[in-house]
Symmetry: none
Amino acid sequence: MELNNKQLEIIGIAKALFAQHGFDATSVRDIAQRAQINVAMINYYFNSKENLLEVLIKHGIEAYKLDASQYNTEADAFLRLEKMVEHYVESKFSDLHLYQILTNEANNKKRESYSILFKELRRHNIQCLREVISYGVEQGVFHFYDPVLLHTSMIGTFLNFKMNKSVIEEFIDIPKGMSFEEYLKIELTKHLKYILKAILTYEN
Amino acid sequence: MELNNKQLEIIGIAKALFAQHGFDATSVRDIAQRAQINVAMINYYFNSKENLLEVLIKHGIEAYKLDASQYNTEADAFLRLEKMVEHYVESKFSDLHLYQILTNEANNKKRESYSILFKELRRHNIQCLREVISYGVEQGVFHFYDPVLLHTSMIGTFLNFKMNKSVIEEFIDIPKGMSFEEYLKIELTKHLKYILKAILTYEN
Amino acid sequence: MELNNKQLEIIGIAKALFAQHGFDATSVRDIAQRAQINVAMINYYFNSKENLLEVLIKHGIEAYKLDASQYNTEADAFLRLEKMVEHYVESKFSDLHLYQILTNEANNKKRESYSILFKELRRHNIQCLREVISYGVEQGVFHFYDPVLLHTSMIGTFLNFKMNKSVIEEFIDIPKGMSFEEYLKIELTKHLKYILKAILTYEN
Amino acid sequence: MELNNKQLEIIGIAKALFAQHGFDATSVRDIAQRAQINVAMINYYFNSKENLLEVLIKHGIEAYKLDASQYNTEADAFLRLEKMVEHYVESKFSDLHLYQILTNEANNKKRESYSILFKELRRHNIQCLREVISYGVEQGVFHFYDPVLLHTSMIGTFLNFKMNKSVIEEFIDIPKGMSFEEYLKIELTKHLKYILKAILTYEN
DNA sequence: AATGAATGAGACTTCATTCAT
DNA sequence: TATGAATGAAGTCTCATTCAT
């Protein structure tokens, strides 16, 4: 699955369009026009529109996998948790379009096959989260909380944050010179750190 | 916007199909076939497919609005918060299909107009949440936390819970004789109560 | 499988085009243009081009089946055989286009399913032929000859006669005022009668 | 029209595919893939797909021409006729694919030019047949019968025999250890000899 | 009030061919 | 000599919508 520059360019454009309009509402013509290529090129490079989606997902999904080595260096459980959150947010922001596609299409009955990749990703990230929790429990600073539920809240918060750009913009003044994306990233990180720590230390 | 029985039936079927396959991937023929009516009927009753979506959203969205009278009777801030969560979850579960449609289509650039309704809903619910928080602050049991962020986590958690049925099923044993939907409802309620309380009482 | 006038008209035009250019080389546009209808109409009435072929074959193939009652009235075996030949040629000439389509497409691997209908037709006609032969054998005027082989020669002769219009025209002067088709029909009938009688009475 | 090995290989593969699926249903990609060559190669060597067909026909058609020297050695008219039949069948069997292509495409209006070659072949073979008949007439053992009609029956019988493999298989038990092709060849030869002799000696 | 017939627009895809290398 | 990249044309089919009844 080696992709040349042309293919990567097409993928980039397709990602943006799929994310904005949905897979079904995006025509190969739209993609071709934006990429300034012939319509037939998409099939030439990807065989079909459906396969383009598959390649596009497979190609990008790895970036979303948490990499324990990025935060395991922290001995303090709280710091490790925080670092994990930073790493987590960073990874999602590296390709916001794809994440939106994934969430939209994962629900689509027709495209269940791609949700397998999505599932696998979740499994991996949940496991990473479990390990961070366990570490804190061992250190005596966290009590255990189901990582599936935690992960659900993390990811859900992230997605909603992103999806509700317009609502949030209405309620919050973004400091000058800062893009919404930057602001969102900072606030999201702060918020996620906060809720994770709150949940893992809360005494019911 | 008075709807007769035939229209309501069409709306019900359209909702289910839009939720499962997406708006674009659902043809008016699909709807007509399931509703055992003529294809022309949909345009006859709703003018256009697009307008059917609009009517369908407008018709159902009210059910999602929090109604303060349902939980304001509780004097204890914690109980009030819990009751609000119960009410919140209940309202979403009353029409899961529509909620899925809303989240999927709200992102769609082409259909920004519908997201206005969605935004309005959010504004309303955020305000309700703000009031509950303020009440707890007044009572001296909560510290303040931004209701926009809280709401984002609530709704995001809910959506992800629902969307990830299959992942969750893999990790959790559902008690016999209980449907996934029932279980999801119970666990989700419990989890939401927990995280809200945790966040609102956590000392950073 | 009731066909309305529009459908019958389309079938007629499609038959002529499929026969002349082959199924693959005939586009639905060609058919639509000739029938002076919208391209979409063909799919509207027949679902697909492939299905149009199927309907077209199923609709017409019955006419090719020999009907014993048409010649069984003849007590003399020779006359019965001759009458059968006349009936046989007549039936083929009633729809030359379809017969050409059948022979062309029966060979096509992709369209094996239609050849089932063709096979069934052959089985029927071979059985009819067998009965006529048996009758002559009973009467003591024919000796038995394999009807499968006989049928093969009959049908092959017919097809080749038809296919080689241009070669035949070169060798034979057609009487004035007679169309090639008429002449072909007369000559073919005469020839078929001759070879059948020759074969069934030849002492090797 | 000198053909190198690569060209001959392409022709062989194209023949098989054209015969099985028809000219229109065979893409140059199919041919290229089977021949393990680049798609552009076919145009490079043959200029166009259409021309490939022409070259392929021109290259192979000679094999089908009857060669009087193969059977003229027989003094006995019956034996000469039989030998001609053997030679005739043999020549067709040397390249069954091409023969199927010829018969399929000869009918096609779009490709009338190739049918010229086909016509020329028929003319030649009809002439050969005429000579054999005349010889028998001279010998006083045959009465004259139009060679055009005889040839039509011969070729038609052959083609139908071949085309109806499946029908014939159903009616006839092929001896063990014999392929259908072998059986067909033997039976066909026998049958053709029989009908020719029957026709040429039958007293109406 | 309701619908069957019909259609124009546009979807994806495949095709034979060309061109620069 | 040979080929990978690229393309315009055309293919079939599906779509939402309209219109006469």
